[in-house]
Symmetry: C2
Subunit: 354 residues, 2 copies
Amino acid sequence: MAQPTLAVVGATGSVGSVMLELLSSRRNHWGEIRLVASARSVGKSLTCRGERLDVLPLTAEVFDGVDVAMFDVPDAVSEHWAPIAVSRGATVVDNSSAFRMRPEVPLVVPEVNKDAVKSRPIGIVASANCTTAAMIIAMAPLHDEYGLRELVLASYQSASGAGQLGVDTLHDQLAKVAGDRMLGSRTGNVRQAVGDDLGPFPAPLALNVVPWAGDPADLGWSSEELKLRNESRKILGLPALKVSATCVRVPVVTGHSIAVHAVFAAEVTADGARQALRNAPGVILVDDPESGEFPMPIDAVGTDPSWVGRIRRAMDDPRALSLFITGDNMRKGAALNTVQIAELLATEIAKRST
Amino acid sequence: MAQPTLAVVGATGSVGSVMLELLSSRRNHWGEIRLVASARSVGKSLTCRGERLDVLPLTAEVFDGVDVAMFDVPDAVSEHWAPIAVSRGATVVDNSSAFRMRPEVPLVVPEVNKDAVKSRPIGIVASANCTTAAMIIAMAPLHDEYGLRELVLASYQSASGAGQLGVDTLHDQLAKVAGDRMLGSRTGNVRQAVGDDLGPFPAPLALNVVPWAGDPADLGWSSEELKLRNESRKILGLPALKVSATCVRVPVVTGHSIAVHAVFAAEVTADGARQALRNAPGVILVDDPESGEFPMPIDAVGTDPSWVGRIRRAMDDPRALSLFITGDNMRKGAALNTVQIAELLATEIAKRST
């Protein structure tokens, strides 16, 4: 049989380029691959699976004959174009937040709920938010073991979560502040040194932490904070899960980290939690602080799994655990999760046609 | 009457230098001021209140005639020398952790429990840990209003919490990583760029977050994490307060931040919490995210108060609040709190002698 045809919509973006890298390095599931981007990228060509491919403009016709289309584009673009791709016969795997919370769209992290992909009444499958994805593949096995009731989360999110502009902005700011040893003390002014070029951030990121990510949502919460709540509930199938998150941007290029305090129905032990995580798909356990082993962005970058460590049972509650998680937000948090879902669909198509 | 005599022990350190600055800029409570440091600093002189003062060696005799001695030195030095200072007639205000948890030593944050200073059976008053101090002056008024039951904390601690070596190490590392735009991506290696010079940290701090501060304590917790628990309980007089903290070092020079999830006995409102904080001593409320107003290290550095914002009532618990706090760890977290306690003692001495 012919292998399925894949479209990559948003192929020239920073997540798109990680998608092409993954498609080139993972076991191949695909026949033709079409790279699609906005009109302004047409004329470019990119390498995928060792082949040079021209970038095609985003039109309805580009989806003719496409089996699976991965989208990494802004919400409004997904909202408009995903249904068009579906109408042309493609199944869409969308990494924007446009469809994630719609009841007729499955929200999938393959290590946790891969069967959800099977029911997709409007032909669209959503890939989870970057911070949620990294966190949830560590929480799912703990939920299986102990029954999750509540999450209190504080994030340490990297610049690349705000796209290539976020990365460029952080590097620009670092170049401006490096070498000035007064900065960050009472006599040095980081705002002045950085200047007006804040890129996608509401404040300077170099030598700072910014307790805000996303857009204003309800009652003082940010959209990123509510995504963590809503997506965790949906992926785990726990509509009453209590979630309070504070999302904070830190001067790290790639790699989102999360300090997690999780309350369970049953009593927990740190060793039991470690055991559950040691065998969990997509998780790497790094939990030996005395040897300097804990999850950190500089180690997680460029890797697929969620790094999990600092596992401690709460001193005041035998049903609560504290832990620390780091994942490459460009991979598990974006490109990898989307590619994994697309591969589930490719496998389904292959089975169906045999 | 003669004004009391003050000794500053550890005057040449980074916290010591902020102490001298504060003594020079605040209303004067002191007659003679003696600057004391280890033998290796003797021969140096420093400016305080516009006067040049010679640094004196740490001996028993240096405390003769001293009314109040502020100590900012390592735990072991405090442990040895504070009782000697007391035996020579001084009252000691100690900023190390050596005495903080001893039942016969009051642990004081003046905005919260200044009356505790009055009972000091062994002549020693302890100043709180940097992260605790910044956090507790915001939590105390909320406790008064709603009755605090539980704290879940995640910190964003700056390099200067690890002393001048921490600051120098971060600046050195920033100079090494700035300009290399591959760093923090899958093709750049921060560990390699930074090299072996990690200073006081267990891993590179530039372009990274390090989920570890302090020394290994019980059951996987770090000493910094347990300080937050134990000191919060003691300062607020709540021995059963539930506290789970995760302490994380971030690439910021000065300014510790804390994401707080607080559970109370009574139902809360965000507006009620803001009102309680607006009138609280030592607190500045910065809570207008849509205008880019939230607490951040680059703004808090060099200032006295705790900056508090991002106040939200939990969506799933009417008795819980999330908030974000930033304070200058060299001031409220160290030098300022110690100086404030010393000034309480100076006022007491002045009253006694009139």
